[in-house]
Structures are given as structure tokens and as C-alpha cells.
């Protein structure tokens, strides 16, 4: 059960579990609010497979390989989905 962000359909909010990147590459993501435990939602994707995700109210564009390093978890209970 290793779910990665690119396999999440658009507009479905999930929770970030971990970032599978070396520390120096993960840092910029952390700083921009992409933290384990946060809610993350792919809002659009571009022809080249880029993902625009919404995190903490702001929009972030990620390269495909970067998105593929984000391990996520589906929100199960209704309450979690909010």
C-alpha cells in the first residue's frame, strides 16, 4: 500500500504521509508547507504531467517526478474529509 500523489484523481483531497526525497530536496517542499500530515489536493495537471496542487490554501506547481515522491493516504472517515 504505497499510494503516490500522481495516482490521485483531481480534486480529491488526501493526506500527505511522507516525502520520499533526500533531505536537501525535500526541504524546499517542507518550507512551502508540504509537510507530512498536511492535506493536499491536486487541482489541475498540465500536458507534461505537471501537477498543480493546493496545499494550505496556496497553489504549488510540481514536476511529475517530484509529485511521484509524495506518499499519500486517502481520507477515510467522513469527518476527516470535512
Amino acid at each position: 500500500m504505497d499510494l503516490r500523489l500522481p495516482s490521485i484523481p483531481l480534486r480529491q483531497t488526501v493526506e500527505l504521509v511522507s516525502i520520499d526525497l533526500p533531505a536537501d530536496q525535500a526541504e524546499p517542499l517542507l518550507e512551502r508547507g508540504v509537510l507530512p500530515g498536511c492535506r493536499i489536493c491536486p487541482v489541475r495537471s498540465s500536458p507534461s504531467g505537471h501537477a498543480i496542487v493546493s496545499v494550505d490554501g496556496s497553489l504549488l506547481a510540481l514536476r511529475r517526478e517530484t509529485a511521484a515522491c509524495l506518499c499519500v493516504r486517502l481520507l477515510t472517515s467522513l469527518q476527516e474529509v470535512g
Binding site: 526541504e27 498540465s46 507534461s48 498543480i52 504549488l60 506547481a61
Partner: protein, 740 residues
């Protein structure tokens, strides 16, 4: 700016102008030093401008402020110096920006650090605030963008946040000048020490890290009793932070602590300093391997906790519905690219069409009226011919031409471009182009520096500081010259009008010329990708680093202010530079046209020598010589070309040897060039060559400043030149084959 802001609180602004005297640029002596820190794009520069009355460049994309800007103001008789630091997400000193910001907060000894915080993204911003609070307790938080927070339904409680952080928190809207007065008084109170703070400090770490910190902190205290937070110093030493280690080694750490400029502590004995460093090394052995992650996570957790308490919950985030819709179009798979081209074309079209009439008027005035009048005056005063020729026909005419041709398009292009920038369009361009950049092995942010290059390549080169990876930054620097800069448009526009627009029916001429210029600009972008790709496969080998780009919310641009600042900051500065370079070049042209040997002028000899090469390239000797003369400034290529054409072709026109002039109209210019043997091929190749040749002298110098390397500077200079020769040669050969 106070005068422009329609502030509801007019009375405070009025009061402030009485007590607050803006001093503009930094004074030599000051009573208080304020550092301005914050995440990128939170409005630091806007706050800076509100405080100082200066017009530091603002724009809606993260990472504009790359160099430290300084300014000053006076308040109640106190002189205050203020330093605007580059926007950073943290103080880990991972990139040049972060290092500059961190070093200043740490070693610049500010009396107070003002942290500008984006109220709509509290949690992420608090991460930086907490890091700064670890270093110093003289902090004031400015909670900016409260208007946007309100609009988007984010409710932050400043009073609560102040309690949590233990330092003053001032809510405000920098763009409307609101909250600035309160910020000034809070900052000065903290600086003067009349308002004490009790900053939030991170609590205990995980046991194995905590043990090391608790073990090392007393050693820090014993060697440097004056540091405000020995735990932080201990942590940095455990982390092997070079700057902090160096500060311990040199004894500088003790100076930082006091904050005040005067108090100077004698450094502790060298043996003690060494003892501290040794202790740190010893403790480092016992640290868990994921030490760095533990610490990072710890600080994020703290930020989350504080943000959670200061933010009202239960409010539904009213989304950014408008933004989303607009983004859908501007970054869409289908429309993103065409829309980008369309916007680019519209900007050029407005520039070309709008600049025509004022350009003509300026030329008539400066060249048609003032120049003969000056000549008349010189003649009446019986000034020797060579002196009046040198000054009036050389220096004056070159300058006048540059003003007439460059001022109107710049005065239109810069404001329009700045409006787009303020609105937040540039990061979308970066997003659209990122896939291409990645394929080329370059950094996505190179799109931003490329856009800056459309204004001025030197500015684009400086802007590459937003790119962390040195390899990708070099690529961005070397290829910036492929962005058609402002000094080269007049050439593009004029030649496109004469040789390409003329092919179309008169009513469509303007449109066709604009399309041709866009075509050249696109070719430049293609060349940039191509050379980036080549570089990253050869001398600058490597893969593109992972990239994430923030798309800031669209913000309505401030029309009046944009007009004002872009005309003052960009237009006049670029124009001034052009004038400074054009004047001596005018003098050189006049000289080579008037020094003669063997019955011909030096210019005629040179053109004669260069002509065979020129023809091989589909150009001619005149154009090549003009490019040599115009190395200082691209802007003067066209007048030089015209002058040399008249001179060497023995054609009637102009007003004498070495007189730089503008033919009265585009029609006359066209006739002149055609009589000088120009064809459509010459025109097309001149447009190509104007795109693909070495950067101007200012840019070359800037590249050297940024890279500190003769090798890369040479490559950046030679690469486009080689490409230009190759492309022109090929086009000329194919053209002649097809024509024959």
C-alpha cells in the same frame, strides 16, 4: 506610497508625514538599524517602500528581491536605517538568498528585525518567524495582507498571536499604508528597549537530541555569557553550521549578542573558543543519524501549533474561485501557450503602434529643430568646425537619436510589463514553459529570469540568483542574452517595418511587423532552449533538480503606482545608461568618418575590409562595423548603420561626414537602405543578427560580476556570436540557392 494610497485612516498618514521624514537612501550614521525579513512575496518590499518612500522594485512573484536594499527614514528625531533582506522560507542558508538573510539577522546586528508575515499562509510563514526568534529577541511581526485574508475568509487573531509569540504583532495592509505607523512605533520601542519581549522558543527535543543540546548549552554560556539563546547556538554547532562555527572561532559571536552597535565585548580567550568547538564535535558523535530531520520536524510542529491557536477555525476557506478559473485558462493544455503568445503579441503591438507618433515628434524636435539651431549658434560663435562637428554632430545627435527612438517604446513597454508582473502572470509563464526547461536540463525558474531579460539582460542575469543550483544558474546566465532586450527592439521594429511590413498591404503593415518581431522573440526563446540543452549535455552536464513553483494569488495591479515606478525606475535608468554609452559612440563614429588616409576615411577602409565577410553572411560591411562600434550599447546600431551607409555609398542624404542622423521618415530610411544595396535578405539577416550576437558591455560586465569567472563570461559572450554567424551564413546560402 502615502500620497497615492486612499487610506481610510487619512489622519494618521497626515500625522506621520509630520514626524516621519523620509531620508531616501541610506545615511552614514543612524540611531537604529532595522532588518526586514520575511517569506518571498509577502510584501516586504512594499513595507520597505512605505517606510522609506523609496521605490524598491515590487512584483507579484516570489524571489524578486535578490540583493539587499537599504534605505532610511527619520522618526521623532531618530535616524533609522532599514535593510530589506531577500525573501526566504527559512534560515538554513541553503541558497545564496537564505545565506544573505541569515547572515544579516545574525551578524548585521540589527536593533530590531521586522518579520513580514502573510496572514493568509500563517503556518508556513511562522516557520521563519520561529527561526528568527531563536536567534534574537528583538523582533516585531508585521501581519501583512490582512485584506487578502479577509477576502479569502482566513481569520487570524493578532492579539492571540502576539501572546503566543511573545513579541509585538502588528496587523496591516502594506499596500494601503495601513498599520505602518503602528509598525514604526512598535519597532522603535523594541529597538530602544522600552518594550521588552519574551520570545517563543522551541521546547524540548527528542531525548537523544535534547541530551546533546543540554550538554553543550552550558559550555556556550560559559564561553559566551552574553548570547541570548545558548540552546540555539548549541544546536547550530551540533549541526556543524559553518557560519556559526566561524563566529565562535573568531570571537564575533559575542558581538552579535548585544545587538547594540557600541557595546563591544572583548572576545573570550582562544583556548575557551577552541574548547567550545571541541565539545560540539564530541557531542555530535552521539547524535542520531536523522538528527537534521528531527530538528526540522520539531520546528514545523511548533509553527503548526502556534498557527493553529492564532487562527480562527470553523471558517470555511472561501476558495480562490476567480484565480482558479483564470488559471484554468492561462495554464491550460490547449490555451495556455496560444494565450501566452497572444499576450506577448498584444504587448508588442501596443508598444509599436503607440510609440510611432511620439517617436516621430521627438525626432522632429531634437533632430529637426534643436540640432540646426545648435549648429547655427555654433557657427555664430565661430566655433571651429571639428569641435562643433565632434560635439553636435557626433555626441549630441547620437544621444538625441537614442532618446527619440528608445524613450517612447520603453515608456509604454515597461509599465505594461510591470502591470502583468504585478498581476501575477509571470509564474504562470514559468509553469507553462517548465516542461521545456526540464527537457533542456534547466531550472523552471529560468522562465522568470528570461522574462526579466526581455526588459534588460543585465537585470535578467542578476535575477538568476533565485536559482539555487549553481549548474542551472550558470545555464540561465549564459543563455539570458537570447531574450530580446529592450535595446534591440528599435532595430527589430524599424527593420521589420521597412522590409517585412512593407510586403503586406498598408492596412496590415503594423500587424505583420508586430508578428515578425514576435517571431524573432520566439526564435530567441527557441535558441535559449537549444543552447540550454546543449550546455546541460556538455560543459554543464547534469539533470534538472526537482522543482516546485508557487503560483501566488492574482492581485489587482496598482495602475498609478505602477506607471510611476516603472517610468522612474526602469525607463529612466535604462535610458540614462543608453545615453551614457551613446554619447561616446557618437564621438567615435564622427572620428572614424573624419580621419582619413589614402583619400578615404577610416570608416570607408573598415567597411571595405568587412564587406566580403558581411556579404557571405547575408549582411554587409556597414552592419558589421556598426556592431563593433555599438558594443557598448545595442541601441545605436541603426543610426550608425544609416550614417555609414550614406558615407560609404556616396549617397545624398544626412548632413555631412560622420553626422549621425535619422532619416526623416521610415520611407526615407527605406529608400536610403535600398539605395545602399540592401535587400530583403539583408533585412531579415540583420534582424537575426540583432538577436544572435554578443551581449552588450553592461551585460558582459554583470555576468562577470555574478560568475566571477573569465571562462563563463567568455562563453556567454562567444556562444551567441557564433550562433549568429552560423545562422546568418546558413540563411544567406539557402536564400541564394532558392533565389537562383
Amino acid at each position: 506610497m502615502a500620497s497615492l494610497a486612499l487610506d481610510s485612516c487619512g489622519s494618521c498618514a497626515e500625522h506621520r508625514t509630520k514626524s516621519l521624514v523620509r531620508l531616501g537612501l541610506s545615511p552614514d550614521r543612524w540611531d537604529y538599524l532595522i532588518a526586514l525579513a520575511g517569506n518571498p512575496n509577502t510584501g516586504k518590499s512594499t513595507v520597505f517602500n512605505a517606510l522609506t518612500g523609496l521605490r524598491q522594485h515590487t512584483g507579484n512573484w516570489p524571489g524578486k528581491t535578490v540583493v539587499r536594499a537599504e534605505g532610511a527614514f527619520e522618526h521623532d528625531g531618530k535616524r533609522v536605517k532599514i535593510v530589506d533582506l531577500p525573501g526566504t522560507y527559512s534560515l538554513q542558508a541553503g541558497s545564496v538568498d537564505e545565506e544573505v538573510a541569515r547572515d544579516f539577522v545574525l551578524f548585521g546586528r540589527p536593533d530590531v528585525t521586522v518579520v513580514v508575515v502573510d496572514a493568509t499562509r500563517l503556518e508556513r510563514n511562522l516557520n521563519l518567524v520561529l527561526q528568527i526568534l531563536e536567534i534574537t529577541d528583538r523582533v516585531v511581526v508585521f501581519l501583512n495582507l490582512m485584506d487578502e485574508a479577509r477576502r479569502h475568509g482566513v481569520a487570524v487573531d493578532p492579539v492571540r498571536l502576539e501572546k503566543e509569540l511573545g513579541v509585538p504583532v502588528i496587523p496591516g495592509v502594506a499596500r494601503q499604508d495601513s498599520g505602518i505607523d503602528e509598525l514604526i512605533s512598535a519597532a522603535l520601542d523594541v529597538a530602544a528597549g522600552t518594550r521588552t519581549t519574551s520570545p517563543f522558543r522551541a521546547g524540548r527535543y527528542a531525548p537523544d537530541v535534547e541530551r546533546a543540546v543540554v550538554g553543550l548549552a552550558p559550555v556556550v554560556e560559559s564561553v559566551y555569557p552574553e548570547v541570548p539563546n545558548s540552546r540555539w547556538v548549541a544546536l547550530r554547532l551540533l549541526n556543524a553550521d559553518e557560519a556559526v562555527q566561524e563566529a565562535v572561532r573568531s570571537g564575533e559571536l559575542g558581538q552579535l549578542a548585544s545587538g547594540s552597535q557600541e557595546a563591544v565585548h572583548a572576545p573570550p580567550p582562544e583556548a575557551d573558543r577552541q574548547r567550545l568547538l571541541d565539545a560540539a564535535t564530541r557531542w555530535r558523535w552521539d547524535l542520531p543519524t536523522d538528527f537534521h530531520d528531527v530538528v526540522t520536524q520539531h520546528s514545523y510542529d511548533a509553527a503548526e501549533e502556534v498557527a493553529g491557536r492564532a487562527q480562527m477555525t470553523g471558517l470555511k476557506r472561501a476558495g480562490f474561485a476567480f484565480d482558479r478559473k483564470l488559471d484554468k485558462a492561462l495554464t491550460s493544455r490547449v490555451f495556455g501557450f496560444p494565450l501566452m503568445l497572444l499576450i506577448l503579441a498584444i504587448v508588442f503591438w501596443i508598444t509599436i503602434e503607440g510609440a510611432n507618433v511620439p517617436s516621430g515628434m521627438l525626432a522632429t524636435l531634437l533632430i529637426g529643430t534643436v540640432h540646426p539651431w545648435l549648429n547655427g549658434v555654433a557657427a555664430a560663435a565661430s566655433v571651429p568646425w571639428w569641435l562643433s562637428g565632434f560635439v553636435l554632430d557626433g555626441v549630441y545627435l547620437a544621444t538625441a537619436w537614442v532618446i527619440a527612438v528608445m524613450l517612447p517604446p520603453m515608456a509604454i513597454f515597461f509599465p505594461v510589463f510591470t502591470l502583468l508582473e504585478d498581476f501575477g502572470y509571470l509564474p504562470r509563464v514559468a509553469f507553462n514553459l517548465d516542461a521545456l526547461f526540464k527537457k533542456a536540463g534547466a531550472h523552471g525558474k529560468q522562465a522568470l529570469t528570461m522574462c526579466m531579460g526581455f526588459g534588460c539582460n543585465a537585470a535578467g542575469v542578476v535575477a538568476t540568483r533565485v536559482i539555487d543550483s549553481p549548474r542551472e544558474r550558470l545555464i540561465a546566465i549564459i543563455t539570458n542574452n537570447f531574450s530580446l532586450c529592450n535595446g534591440r527592439w528599435p532595430t527589430q521594429i524599424l527593420i521589420a517595418t521597412i522590409f517585412i511590413g512593407a510586403l503586406a498591404p498598408a492596412s496590415l503593415g503594423g500587424l505583420v511587423s508586430a508578428a515578425a518581431v514576435v517571431g524573432i522573440a520566439l526564435l530567441g526563446i527557441t535558441m535559449m532552449f537549444l543552447s540550454s540543452w546543449l550546455l546541460s549535455r556538455t560543459v554543464l552536464r547534469g539533470e534538472a533538480t526537482s522543482f516546485s513553483l508557487e503560483l501566488p494569488p492574482y492581485r489587482p495591479p496598482r495602475i498609478l503606482q505602477t506607471l510611476y515606478t516603472s517610468i522612474i525606475d526602469r525607463t529612466l535608468i535604462v535610458l540614462w545608461r543608453a545615453v551614457v554609452f551613446a554619447a561616446p559612440a557618437g564621438a567615435v563614429i564622427w572620428l572614424i568618418a573624419n580621419i582619413s588616409f589614402g583619400g578615404e576615411s577610416l570608416a570607408q577602409h573598415l567597411v571595405g575590409w568587412l564587406n566580403p565577410v558581411g556579404l557571405l553572411l547575408g549582411l554587409n560591411g556597414v552592419i558589421l562595423l556598426a556592431y563593433v562600434v555599438a558594443i557598448p550599447a545595442n541601441e545605436i546600431v541603426i543610426p550608425t548603420v544609416l550614417m555609414l551607409t550614406v558615407l560609404t555609398g556616396g549617397l545624398a542624404g544626412g548632413s555631412g561626414a560622420g553626422v549621425m542622423f535619422e532619416a526623416d521618415s521610415v520611407g526615407a530610411t527605406s529608400e536610403l537602405l535600398r539605395a545602399g544595396g540592401w535587400t530583403l535578405l539583408t533585412g531579415v539577416n540583420l534582424m537575426l543578427f540583432s538577436l544572435l550576437h554578443n551581449p552588450c558591455s553592461t551585460t558582459i560586465y554583470t555576468i562577470f560580476q555574478e560568475t566571477r569567472s573569465a571562462k563563463w563570461t567568455t562563453l556567454a559572450t562567444a556562444l551567441p556570436l557564433a550562433m549568429g554567424f552560423t545562422v546568418c551564413f546558413l540563411v544567406a546560402q539557402v536564400w541564394r540557392l532558392v533565389a537562383a
